[in-house]
């Protein structure tokens, strides 16, 4: 993997990956299917960069205490680990639903696509910085552009899924929405059960 990473770095293929993930996600999907060098390490690096940029962007609108430095160091590592878990879980669930519907398993490609698809989120930092400099509702635009960049990320992933399996766009949307619906329903049920258990426990105190 290290040799693959060094080779990818020296060949500047990573610049092509990043360029096409922004401009033409379907072409990126085709590239990762046929490329020899592994773009996996680059995906992990992108997750790390996105985490740091997000921590800084979230800190920009307010007035920070020295806790900011903890947030930037230990907090970034923590969020990075969460993000890695999130990528793997999301890729796993997308792959699961694809296999259930008769497609071939492509877990590795999904992990790569999802991690590269996070790349647009790094633009949140310069965008929020501009609103911060002009003192123009920075907290609002932080939330607004977080949503915008999430939608961009989602569109990249959906196009990637569609390209990898030769799937229709709408079907790819459903496949992408499945993990969110699944986790949402499970979380909601857990919450309801937890509330019932808590009330039950308190009523017998």
């Amino acid at each position: 993997m290290t040799a693959g990473f060094v080779e990818t770095f020296r060949s500047l293929k990573w610049a092509d990956y990043l360029f096409y993930i922004l401009i033409e996600p379907r072409r990126f999907a085709r590239m990762i299917i046929r490329e020899d060098a592994s773009p996996m390490a680059g995906g992990i690096l992108i997750a790390a960069v996105v985490t740091v940029c997000d921590v800084i962007a979230a800190s920009l609108p307010g007035v920070e205490s020295p806790f900011f430095y903890y947030k930037l160091t230990y907090g970034s590592i923590l969020f990075f680990l969460f993000l890695i878990v999130k990528i793997v879980v999301l890729a796993g669930l997308v792959d699961l639903i694809c296999q259930f519907t008769g497609y071939q398993g492509k877990m590795k490609e999904f992990v790569i696509i999802i991690s590269y698809a996070l790349f647009p989120q790094v633009f949140l930092l310069p965008v929020v910085s501009i609103f911060k400099v002009f003192h123009f509702a920075a907290p609002f635009f932080y939330v607004f552009f977080s949503i915008v960049f999430f939608v961009w990320t989602a569109l990249i992933i959906i196009q990637g899924i569609s390209e990898l399996h030769g799937m229709e766009f709408l079907k790819a949307v459903l496949v992408f929405a499945f993990p969110y619906a699944f986790v949402g329903i499970i979380s909601f049920l857990c919450f309801v059960l937890l509330v019932i258990l808590s009330f039950g426990y308190m009523s017998f105190l």
């Binding site: 500047l12 610049a15 092509d16 990043l18 360029f19 740091v52 940029c53 800084i56 962007a57 800190s59 920009l60 007035v63 920070e64 205490s65 020295p66 900011f68 930037l72 790094v122 633009f123 930092l125 310069p126 910085s129 911060k132």
Partner: protein, 318 residues
């Protein structure tokens, strides 16, 4: 190099630059916020009145509750006074006192700090709350002007050292202490035996020395002679109007009146801003929580009153 790659690398360079600038911006704002330790209690900017609050027993490091939120202590008060001293906007300081006094050294340190501000021509006005007795009054006497409520408990000029004598109880229970000491007075004021006449005399010398310093400092702060104060400096507590009568305070009034007086004495306009202490919402929440827990469990008094051994204090101790 391919044009697309050049564009992408330029974007990445701009991203790195914006990240570095953002971190620098956050760090600079953070430092600015740390310098700016005061919030405006009244809208406005420019020269104004700073507020310092002294609540509860006076000790050097202050008491720490279960949530590790320090209730202050002399060191925190001195830090706050230093910050006000360094702030060019502060022309007057209102010292709000709600304290029965405390340890000798902590009280004297706050007194010295206030005198330093007074020498630098910062107008000091004391506002006495529920109680400003003994060490609480000692601190107030460093101010140019003292405003007291009619119902404030003040005075109690004197020094006290208290130690329980549990000898009878120990004998009853059959408990004996093994003490190996390097000198005759090493276990002076121990709770398991009576005080010898020599020991009593020794403690009395300490008490008298601290008492004389108390008198001297109050006289200096109030611009009175020691003999003017001595008749009332027998430890008696008094109400606000009695304190005014004995010239230990200047007028009856509320905290607002003290702020008005500070503005007037510092020749500030009537609407000059008031710079009060700033606490983060998290600190306020934790302190409220801590107060609720201590009150409910009845721990507050025990926490505040517990002493590992005896102390000589400027303290009103009914």
């Amino acid at each position: 190099m391919d044009k697309n790659r050049k564009i992408l690398i330029s974007i990445l360079a701009l991203l790195v630059l914006s990240a570095v600038l953002a971190v620098i911006d956050i760090s600079m704002r953070m430092r600015g916020a740390q310098r700016e330790r005061f919030t405006l209690a009244v809208p406005g900017v420019g020269p104004g009145v700073g507020i310092v609050r002294i609540n509860g027993p006076i000790e050097m490091a202050g008491s720490e509750g279960g949530f590790a939120i320090s209730s202050g202590g002399a060191e925190a008060v001195i830090q706050r006074l230093s910050a006000l001293e360094a702030d060019s906007r502060i022309r007057a300081v209102v010292v709000r006192i709600n304290s029965p006094g405390g340890t000798v050294a902590a009280t004297q340190e706050i007194y010295q700090k206030l005198m330093r501000l007074r020498r630098r021509n910062i107008v000091l006005v004391a506002s006495l709350g529920d109680i400003a007795a003994s060490g609480g009054y000692y601190i107030a006497s460093a101010c140019n002007y003292i405003v007291t409520n009619q119902g404030t408990l003040t005075g109690s000029i004197g020094v006290i050292a208290v130690s329980p004598n549990l000898q009878g109880l120990f004998q009853k229970l059959g408990i004996k202490m093994n003490v190996i000491k390097s000198g005759a007075y090493k276990d002076i004021l121990s709770s398991y035996r009576d005080l010898t006449p020599e020991e009593r005399e020794l403690i009395q010398v300490l008490i008298d020395s601290s008492y004389n310093q108390f008198l001297k400092d109050v006289a200096r702060g109030r611009n009175l002679g020691i003999d003017d104060i001595r008749p009332y400096a027998d430890g008696r507590v008094m109400s606000g109007d009695m304190a005014v009568k004995y010239k230990l305070a200047d007028e009856i009034g509320s905290f607002e009146r003290a702020v008005e007086k500070a503005r007037k004495k510092a020749k500030l306009p009537e609407d000059a801003p008031v710079y009060d202490e700033q606490r983060s919402p998290l600190d306020q929440f934790l302190m409220t929580l801590e107060g609720a827990v201590l009150n409910r469990s009845g721990l507050q008094n025990r926490v505040m009153r517990y002493r590992g051994g005896y102390m000589i204090e400027y303290r009103y101790q009914p």
